[in-house]
Amino acid sequence: MAEAHGHDHAHPHQPDIEDAAPSHYQLMTEAVAGLLVEKGVFTADALRAMLEAIDAKSPADGARVVARAWADDAFRTRVLEDVNAAASELGIDAGSIPIRAVANAPGLHNLVVCTLCSCYPRLLIGLPPDWYKSRAYRSRAVREPRAVLREFGLELPTETVVRVHDSTADLRYLVLPERPAGSDSLDEDALAALVTRDCMIGTARPRAPA
């Protein structure tokens, strides 16, 4: 598969069916998990609960935060001060690693990358897409962001300032996109439906209201 579409990163393996031989690293994962449970580093229940928590995270939580920020200026101010605290007001546990909101505005566009690895606000918007972890995105987003955005179908006016934020293990970013024109009559649920994962990374704009 990887050869067939001609790029240089390996794709994570697809789920094994029951009788497929496990890979070396899959065996390593199961062995490490088993040893850590046996040694009491964490319990099997804690591992199960964490797996469920990972599955429960999706861009929908981030979209709720963005939609509330669009609808409520005071909340928006709190998001810009402290995303994790603002998310917790909506019952969302965004974890303890600080997330900083970077707001788009007329003439200003923000883009998030992690050049060194793959830091991403996982506890707010779920696991990152493959391209976010790719060599191409990590290398080029900081050097030619406009060209990268063009590949995503986002053509920015030359006078628009582009700010690229390089994430770290200790600080993650969330783009607060501009509220789309024509969305004045929408309630928060309808607003949240306009907020995609990519517009919270900065590679897209929110959907246009129907």
């Binding site: 690293y25 062995a31 040694k39 050049t115 793959s118 696991l127 897409p129 200790d170």
Partner: protein, 110 residues
């Protein structure tokens, strides 16, 4: 002073087009074992056994050859395992034994 760039430090380098997934149409699901790697790291991190910075250091120490050869979560579990071995949380021989046992029993679990 010449900046010595290590292989993971790719910001600003030339690279091909971004193979983005057109809004998720081509996105694959993470395999269960990949999510387990993520869960292990989060539990180790929240219990103070290892940090995310140590995960990254472990990935960087895999070296350019292995770094490019392994998939994303393969790098993670290789790093986590090396750091657990380094800290003495687990030992090489018990890890090897456990992997052999799991492999021998694969497909026979009730």
């Amino acid at each position: 002073m010449r900046h010595l760039r290590r292989h993971h430090d790719m910001g600003g380098l030339d690279a091909g087009p971004v193979d983005h997934d057109h809004g998720g149409a081509l996105a694959h699901d993470y395999a269960p074992w990949e999510k387990k790697v993520d869960a292990i790291l989060r539990l180790l991190s929240s219990s103070g056994v290892m940090t995310v910075d140590e995960l990254r250091r472990g990935i960087e120490e895999l070296g350019p050859g292995i770094y490019d050869e392994l998939s994303y979560y393969e790098r993670w579990i290789a790093s986590v395992t090396n750091i657990l071995l380094e800290k003495g949380v687990i030992e090489t021989d018990e890890l090897g034994r456990r992997m052999a046992e799991i492999e021998a029993g694969w497909g026979h679990t009730p």
